[in-house]
């Protein structure tokens, strides 16, 4: 990893994790990584390589069998709102309106109704859902629901965001819009972000650094620094630098293969 003066905000040292059960699965093996403050890191890897496992370890829901995970120097021993976690599954509360969803974490912090309202109004406005403030999630599209989940996590002002394939279920067009929305959010309120995805283009478009994971058991196979200036735009996706990096990612996965071989990570 790069030498740096400031200590890592989030780090995993030699982390291994295995699922027990009828078919024991080694999900992670000797994985190490670290995130600096306000860094946007994308974790890229094929389906089933342990990306979600790693994120759940960082979120505090799983304990590594070997190795350690630390947040701001302290060992992680449970979930906490300083690490905002957006699950891969749809986890918006369907019995709450958009506003109540966004305010949930503030309720946990015992904020007054008026203060909660101030925060939720601003965030809902920012994700462009002001008109849906009083709507129940069933009235939202998948993309809107995901943005509400991101806003819900941002409401508690965590220093770290753990995002697990937030746009995985979206069509290409909506996904691009959501990526832009997330990039804008990140530009406005800097956070340390660990973004899990299996989409190389998405990883490049959003991140400062892309970590390519190997297939199961997952470990960091390659690190790419994305030195493409921000704000990035639609044109960025077709720039020479971008495409060159994209090629390097495919090479790093080792799946470019002979002619006619289908890459399995798309």
């Amino acid at each position: 990893m790069t030498a740096s003066a400031s200590p890592p905000v989030l780090e995993a040292v030699d982390v291994s994790y295995a699922y027990s059960g009828p078919t024991p699965t080694q999900a992670l093996e000797g994985l190490s990584l670290e995130l600096k403050e306000n860094e946007f890191v994308a974790l890229l890897g094929p389906v089933g390589c342990g990306k979600t496992t790693l994120l759940r370890i960082f979120a505090g829901f799983l304990r590594p069998a070997k190795g350690s995970v630390r947040c701001g120097g302290a060992s992680i021993d449970g979930p906490g709102s300083q690490r905002g976690y957006v699950l891969q599954e749809e986890a918006i509360f369907p019995w709450m309106t958009v506003r109540k969803n966004v305010e949930f974490g503030l309720l946990a912090k015992r904020l007054e109704a008026s203060e909660r309202r101030k925060v939720s109004e601003e965030l809902i406005g920012f994700i462009g859902l002001a008109a849906f403030e009083g709507a129940y999630p069933r009235e939202l599209s998948t993309g809107m629901s995901k943005m509400v989940e991101v806003a819900r996590v941002l409401a508690t002002d965590p220093s770290i965001l753990l995002l697990d394939e937030p746009f995985g279920a979206l069509d290409a067009q909506t996904r691009q819009r959501m990526q832009d929305a997330l990039a804008r959010l990140w530009a406005q309120r800097r956070k340390t972000v660990l973004f899990v995805t299996h989409d190389a283009e998405e990883a490049l478009y959003l991140a400062d650094r892309v970590l390519v994971l190997s297939p199961r058991p997952g470990r960091v196979k390659a690190t790419l620094v994305v030195d493409i200036p921000r704000p990035r735009s639609f044109e960025t996706r077709f720039s020479g630098d971008f495409l060159a990096l994209k090629r390097r990612i495919w090479e790093a996965t080792g799946l470019q293969g002979p002619h006619g071989t289908e890459p399995t990570t798309a």
């Binding site: 979930p79 509360f93 369907p94 019995w95 974490g105 946990a108 069933r138």
Partner: protein
């Protein structure tokens, strides 16, 4: 909205059956035998299928003598009390065992044990324990209701999707907030569905209990008395009254359920 459409359709369906009955009674009038053997003696002037005229006459008598209204009041009171006591007990226990896995293995055998015990098999015991008065009947209903609502609450809590609990925990919610704002709303539908089923069962329990242990005034007593004479119009009016009350209770339950789950996506 949907609830009202369904209620209207139900009224139309019930009305159609009633009209068919009236027609059959009218055709049978004067043609059906009016003398029956009751096992020990003959009874004359039995209206096997009372016509609407004799139903109206009997209904007027039951209303004017206040027998019907008093019976409804007494039986309804027992059902409501039993439903309240049983639901509170069953739901609390179900929430508890739903949250604490260790308690489940303690409660589960007892629930299975009682689930298939006919409610009325408990009646003799309850009469001995709690007397002939209100308590034995109310507690009999409560027992039945508690078993069903226990299951609704227990499985409701167990069925709350993991993702909601994880999301809440990671947003910093403590156990109490998760219980109030996540577990309860997510389990509400299951809990309330069980209360609705229990409400129907409460009516079955009370009417049969009142038949076996008949005391004036009550709907069970009215039916038992009508059987002793026998007076078919009284029986039919008694049965229709119980049916109507079950219907009203179920409609109330449906409205409450719809209100509590208004966030849900509903199939038309």
């Amino acid at each position: 909205m949907m609830t009202w459409v369904r209620a209207r359709r139900a009224v139309i369906a019930l009305g159609a059956i009633a009209a068919l009955y009236m027609l059959a009674a009218q055709i049978g009038h004067g043609r059906l035998p009016d003398r029956i053997w009751m096992g020990a003696h003959y009874v004359d002037n039995v209206q096997l299928l009372p016509t609407w005229r004799s139903l109206v006459e009997e209904g007027t008598f039951l209303l004017e003598s206040k027998i019907l209204v008093e019976s409804i009041a007494v039986s309804t009171r027992r059902v409501v009390l039993g439903l309240l006591v049983g639901s509170v007990a069953g739901i609390l226990l179900g929430l508890l065992t739903g949250l604490a896995t260790r308690l489940e293995s303690l409660a589960d055998p007892w629930v299975t044990f009682f689930r298939f015990t006919p409610a009325l098999a408990l009646l003799p015991l309850y009469v001995v324990w709690f007397g002939y008065g209100e308590s034995s009947k109310v507690l009999l209903i409560a027992t039945n209701v508690a078993v069903i609502t226990f299951l609704g609450a227990h499985h409701g809590v167990r069925g709350v999707p993991r993702v909601y609990l994880d999301a809440a925990a990671s947003l910093g919610a403590d156990g109490w907030l998760r219980f109030r704002r996540v577990i309860l709303p997510a389990a509400f539908s299951s809990i309330f569905a069980s209360v609705r089923v229990a409400a129907g069962l409460a009516w079955v329990t009370i009417v049969v209990a009142e038949l076996i242990n008949p005391q004036m005034p009550s709907l069970g007593y009215l039916l038992a008395l009508a059987g002793a004479y026998p007076r078919v119009p009284t029986m039919l009016i008694g049965l229709a009254t119980v049916g109507a009350l079950v219907f009203v209770f179920d409609l109330l339950g449906l409205l409450l359920h719809a209100w509590g789950t208004r966030w849900m996506e509903r199939a038309a």
